[in-house]
């Protein structure tokens, strides 16, 4: 099999010089960081080369991830447990190989299901509070109730499906994956979104897509005031009415590729309108705010 070279810049160490697990566990965290060349003074003007062979192995999950089986199912009752304990229990079950975990009686618990960095089917039977399933990387989460503010904040990958409504800052700073709410959501949906897809079956509130940088947002219903305000990049598709557009959000032409992708995505979550996707409006950044600095006084006047 052909050997492949990969270079990633400015990392400052060679991982092949790593220690064995026993050696690592026998040192302090500071020593480990120093051994790996992670001290800041060593990071300047250095680069790293990692060589790996494409065919050497075919892992489909992170090497350090637990080997879980979707067919191995269990239930976890949240009744009377603090959030930290519930989150620890989820991890312990994943270590045992459970790939499908059903959370019972969440009762609006905050910060539940956060930081899951593995494939997993997590089914939450009820509603959850603030910051639910944030910082996740891989799991498929289904929430049968409502969610509070900042659901799936900083989500990296995976799917999150909410059956009812969601609060404000839905998918804030999201980086990847699919975040779906069958109902309506509050204001500032996808604020600072950096990737991934947010799908809203109903309406979305004011300032949705505020400072959006990348990714896609689909709103099947109506959008509130200042849609896409100060967006730098990314795409918003709206099926209903837009109350008004924010600074630098402009309409763009829907392509056949857009329509095919929209149809596919909405069909996946059973949200495709009967009349299809032809009526959707596509909104992108006008890019007037790019490179906004003191060298551009005329632009400042134009925007402010």
């Amino acid at each position: 099999m052909e050997s492949m070279s990969v270079m990633a810049s400015d990392m400052g160490y060679d991982p092949r010089a790593g220690k064995t697990r026993d050696e690592i566990e026998g040192t302090t965290q500071e020593d480990r960081a120093r051994d790996l060349g992670m001290m800041s003074e060593q990071l300047k003007n250095r680069s790293m080369e990692v060589f790996f062979e494409v065919g050497e192995e075919e892992n489909l999950i992170y090497p350090y991830a637990d080997k879980v089986d979707f067919n191995k199912r269990t239930e976890l009752d949240c009744e009377g447990k603090p959030t930290t304990q519930v989150n620890k229990d989820i991890r312990a079950l994943m270590e045992e190989g459970y790939g499908t975990i059903v959370l019972k009686n969440p009762r609006g618990m905050h910060s539940v299901g956060v930081g899951i960095l593995n494939k997993l089917n997590l089914i939450i039977e009820g509603s959850i509070g603030y910051f639910g399933v944030g910082l996740i990387d891989g799991p498929n989460v289904r929430i049968k109730g409502r969610v509070g503010w900042s659901c799936a904040e900083n989500m990296m990958s995976g799917t999150v499906l909410i059956e009812k409504n969601a609060g404000s800052t839905f998918g804030a700073a999201m980086r990847g994956g699919d975040l779906v709410c069958r109902g309506s959501v509050g204001s500032r949906t996808g604020i600072d979104q950096k990737g991934g897809t947010i799908i809203v079956g109903g309406d979305t509130g004011a300032f949705s897509g505020f400072m959006m940088q990348r990714g896609r947002m689909i709103v099947c219903g109506n959008a509130g005031k200042n849609l896409g305000d100060s967006m730098y990049d990314g795409t918003i598709y709206v099926g209903g009415e837009v109350q008004d557009y924010g600074v630098d959000a402009v309409q763009a032409e829907m392509t056949d590729l857009d329509k095919a992708w929209l149809t596919r995505k909405l069909t996946q979550y059973d949200l495709l309108p009967e009349k299809g996707v032809d009526h959707f409006t596509k909104i992108v950044a006008g890019k007037m705010l790019w490179n906004y600095d003191n060298l551009e006084p005329n632009e400042k006047k134009l925007i402010l």
């Binding site: 270079m7 810049s9 092949r16 494409v54 075919e58 494939k119 980086r175 994956g177 490179n291 134009l302």
Partner: protein
């Protein structure tokens, strides 16, 4: 008009950044000597008819119906060489010269996605060692 001339990220040709590694297209870019924006179209949605068998297998393993987070992964260009950005190490992973580049961005994106997954799932990935050093649990 102020603003519009600064875009600089309009992709006119699939080989644009291979032929011209500096890619200084606008007056603003020439003034500051730096390319503004991405070297690929971040808003390009994937053409699912071009999925590779490896990517299909990965998606099945994760229990997804589509490319999920990989929809945001595109082949970019660093110093005139094809590369894919790895968000987990905040660096570019270069595509070896031995891999022939297709003549369209959609197929190039699929190659980039496959390469990135193979790299991230390898035990040679820097995140493996970072985790050893810094993990909390």
């Amino acid at each position: 008009m102020a603003g519009t001339q600064y875009r600089g990220s309009e992709i006119l040709d699939v080989d644009q950044f291979l032929k011209d590694k500096d890619g200084l297209a606008s007056e603003r870019e020439k003034e500051i000597g730096q390319h503004i924006g991405y070297r690929y179209d971040v808003n390009l949605v994937p053409d699912y008819t071009r999925m590779t068998p490896f990517l299909t297998k990965y998606v099945e393993e994760m229990g997804w119906d589509d490319l999920n987070w990989l929809e945001d992964v595109h082949m970019g260009y660093e110093e005139g060489k094809p590369a894919v950005f790895d968000r987990n190490i905040n660096g570019w992973v270069r595509v070896p010269d031995s891999i022939a580049l297709p003549d369209n961005q959609q197929d190039r994106d699929m190659i980039a996605r496959e390469l990135l997954i193979k790299f991230q799932m390898s035990d040679r990935h820097p995140l493996v060692q970072l985790r050893e050093a810094y993990r909390k649990y």
